[in-house]
């Protein structure tokens, strides 16, 4: 491109157009979202314990949620991190096939998580309209369900996208960030799981 | 140091005219902060104006930026540092003052305090003087009689939404919240009627939710308390007798209590000694027979949204009812 010779220039035409992690815009966006939603989760957990501090019995004359389904889901979440991590790394290499397989796998995991989540909700042994404890448990659960659903939808859409001819560098970035967001959903399930399933047991004792 | 001298701040609902140790402590801290901040404000803005005036430049031309070096900024740097130090010192002074005041308020001796229960309602104050013998418990409304020079322990909560109990001449405010029991220690050193008002927005009639703290000598107070402990006097005149019947056969009885009669509902204020109070409608109207009549006929026109329904009694019934209520000294 024609430039006046006397004008000092900084030529950037050799810079990469595809970047991962901190080099990708989307990564920063996702980080922002996580910061926001993470704060919501933390404040909700804080509210849970605040309500506990204001009550005599916890949970108020009823059993804590049944452990089975929640723990099962926890296990499933943790396992799902393996294919997720695998396709995340392959995405950095631009390996379409691997990313396709990984995304399909994680989508299936996600759907399984949702199904199990349904049974979890059936075994919380409380109701949101009974008392503040019930409200807190259900809201905490609801928040996580919301993220789970959103991310599974994202993943499915991205999976479909990866079977079209629209695949390009940006899509691999998306794939990587999708994995990152999945870790967020998985990661926050651990504290929430502990609060919902174990806090009542420990606080009860 | 005192700001109470300032005209306009000598009213019966102002923090700067303290009539008890609580408000007095606060007034001291208030004045301390007032004088410091006023001085600082003047100095800072004076400096600002002067420096602008000295460095003012013509408007027509915007001069090109002037180069600055660490050297050229040395004096500025020193003065800013000095100003910062001064700020921190003064803040510290005011902070200590604040802590001292809090401590003083906290250390008001609760030992022999007179216990009084206050319950916030939309939009009036229920006042109780608890007594070990329940039947001697005095229940009244919107008027808190206290002996002068004796610590009072106000024990309060709310029956509905959040209200805030505040009589500035006596003590700082305290919120009355559903689900919470709270305690305020206070003391009135001057006889008189000190006005208080709800200070937390509580709905339609938040503006008309006031009360009076009546400081009186120990004797007067004990006298008043024993009077209030009595049941209502039975009606002596036929008119009053009929008035009582009106009361018991109309809506009144559904909400109000008159001890010594079948009327025992706790929805509205206890009227056993209503005639002994100076105001009605939570301090809004002087307790005259005319106001009382208007209030009974259509409270909604006076205090829209309040819980007292209109009662369009036939003229004679109303007269008798009023006559009866007037006997409830």
């Amino acid at each position: 491109m024609a430039e006046r010779v006397d004008r000092a220039v900084l030529d950037v035409s050799k810079l990469t157009t595809v970047g991962f992690g901190m080099h990708s815009m989307t990564w920063w966006g996702i980080m922002g979202m996580m910061a926001i939603e993470g704060t919501v989760f933390l404040l909700m957990i804080a509210s849970y314990f605040y309500l506990h501090s204001r009550s005599v019995e916890w949970p108020p004359h009823r059993n804590p949620p049944d452990l089975f389904w929640g723990t099962l889901n926890l296990g499933l979440f943790l396992v799902s991190a393996i294919p997720s991590e695998w396709y995340r790394r392959r995405a950095r290499k631009g390996d379409v096939r691997a990313v396709q397989i990984g995304l399909v796998a994680v989508s299936l995991f996600g759907i399984a998580n949702i199904v199990i989540r349904y049974f979890e909700l059936l075994h919380l042994n409380t109701d949101w309209s009974i008392d503040a404890y019930g409200s807190a448990v259900w809201t905490l659960m609801g928040l996580h369900v919301l993220h789970l659903l959103t991310d599974v939808v994202d993943t499915v859409v991205l999976t479909i996208l990866f079977f079209t001819s629209l695949v390009e560098g940006k899509r691999f970035q998306d794939a990587e960030e999708n994995a990152a967001y999945w870790y967020f959903v998985v990661g926050f399930w651990i504290p929430i799981y502990l609060v919902i399933y174990w806090a009542p047991r420990w606080l009860h004792a | 140091m005192m700001l109470a001298a300032v005209p306009g701040f000598d009213g019966n609902q102002t923090a700067l005219n303290p009539v008890g140790p609580g408000a007095a402590h606060i007034e001291f801290e208030f004045s301390l902060i007032f004088w410091i901040t006023t001085a600082v404000y003047c100095i800072v803005l004076l400096t600002l104006v002067i420096s602008i005036a000295r460095k003012r430049h013509s408007l027509s031309v915007i001069p090109s930026p002037i180069p600055t070096t660490p050297e050229s900024d040395r004096t500025a740097r020193r003065s800013v540092a000095a100003a910062m130090i001064a700020t921190i010192v003064l803040l510290f002074v005011m902070l200590v003052g604040s802590f001292e005041t809090s401590r003083a308020l906290g250390s008001m001796n609760p030992g022999n305090a007179v216990p009084i229960d206050v319950y916030g309602h939309q939009w009036w104050w229920e006042v109780q003087y608890p007594n070990d013998e329940a039947y001697k418990t005095v229940v009244t409304a919107n008027e808190i009689h206290v002996p002068v020079g004796v610590p009072i322990r106000i024990h309060g909560t709310s029956r509905d939404v959040i209200h805030s109990f505040w009589a500035p001449n006596v003590q700082g405010k305290r919120d009355l919240m559903p689900g919470y029991e709270t305690e305020v220690l206070m003391q009135v050193d001057q006889p008189g009627r000190w006005r208080g008002q709800c200070a937390e927005y509580c709905g339609e009639q938040h503006a008309h939710m006031s009360f009076y703290i009546v400081g009186e000598s120990k004797e007067q107070f004990t006298q008043w308390l024993s009077d209030q402990a009595q049941s209502a006097v039975p009606p002596s005149t036929p008119q009053a007798a009929h008035g009582q019947q009106v009361f018991l056969t109309h809506a009144c009885v559904l909400c109000h209590t008159i001890r010594g009669t079948p009327a025992g509902s706790r929805v509205g204020p206890d009227l056993t000694h209503v005639a002994s109070r100076a105001t009605i409608a939570a301090g809004e109207l002087p307790n005259t027979i005319g106001n009382l009549g208007g209030w009974i006929m259509n409270a909604q026109a006076i205090k829209p949204g309040c819980r007292m329904p209109p009662n369009q009694l036939p003229g004679s019934d109303l007269q008798d009812l009023l006559a009866y209520l007037e006997t409830l000294k």
């Binding site: - | 909400c255 509902s265 259509n298 909604q300 209109p310 369009q312």
Partner: protein, 184 residues
């Protein structure tokens, strides 16, 4: 643009219902504040007249229904009817209506009283409070729109919030509102 129109339409609907729902009449005026009495509803009487339309005015206003809920406690209706489930008095949440489920009928139940314990409020409370009670009582069995019926109370939850109450279908639901206020 189109979506803005959609939004405007939605809000337009709210506008119509909203104005009525949010109405807060504090001073019921001379008619409303007349002390209710037991006269037959169809008989014209100073302030005592109860036009059929009157009910909707109260059943449309969330504030009026809320007041009704408060009076239901204040006037100790709960004493016999509990919070709608019934105890000494009949339940008010079901589709069973001994004296009819229409507002005018419930009005006269309250004003005239009924055999076996239902006292008459005639000559005691003002007309408009009766209507507020009527509106609330009908909300107990889900007869009112859910955006008008009260939400949960700040008490021990003993039943669904009125606004979440499924609509019961009384036997006399469909026939025209009775012209004659007296129970058939």
């Amino acid at each position: 643009m189109r979506a803005t129109i959609v939004i405007l339409l939605v809000t337009g609907v709210l506008l119509v219902s909203g104005c009525k729902r949010e109405q807060r009449v504090f001073d019921p005026g001379s008619t409303g504040s007349q002390i209710a009495n037991g006269v037959p509803l169809n008989e014209v009487h100073a302030g005592g007249t109860v036009p059929v339309s009157n009910a909707s005015k109260y059943e449309g206003s969330a504030y009026a229904v809320g007041e009704g809920k408060r009076l239901f406690e204040a006037y100790n209706c709960v004493g016999c009817h509990a919070h709608g489930g019934g105890a000494i008095g009949p339940p008010l949440m079901d589709s069973e209506w001994i004296y009819g489920s229409h507002p005018e009928q419930i009005y006269s139940d309250i004003v005239q009283g009924r055999p076996n314990g239902m006292p008459s409020f005639a000559g005691r409370i003002p007309d408009y409070q009766v209507w507020e009670l009527v509106a609330y009582v009908r909300s107990l069995s889900g007869q009112l729109p859910s955006d008008v019926a009260p939400s949960r109370s700040d008490e021990m939850p003993v039943k669904k919030a009125e606004q979440a109450q499924p609509k019961e279908h009384p036997a006399d639901e469909n026939p025209q509102p009775v012209q004659q206020g007296r129970p058939q």
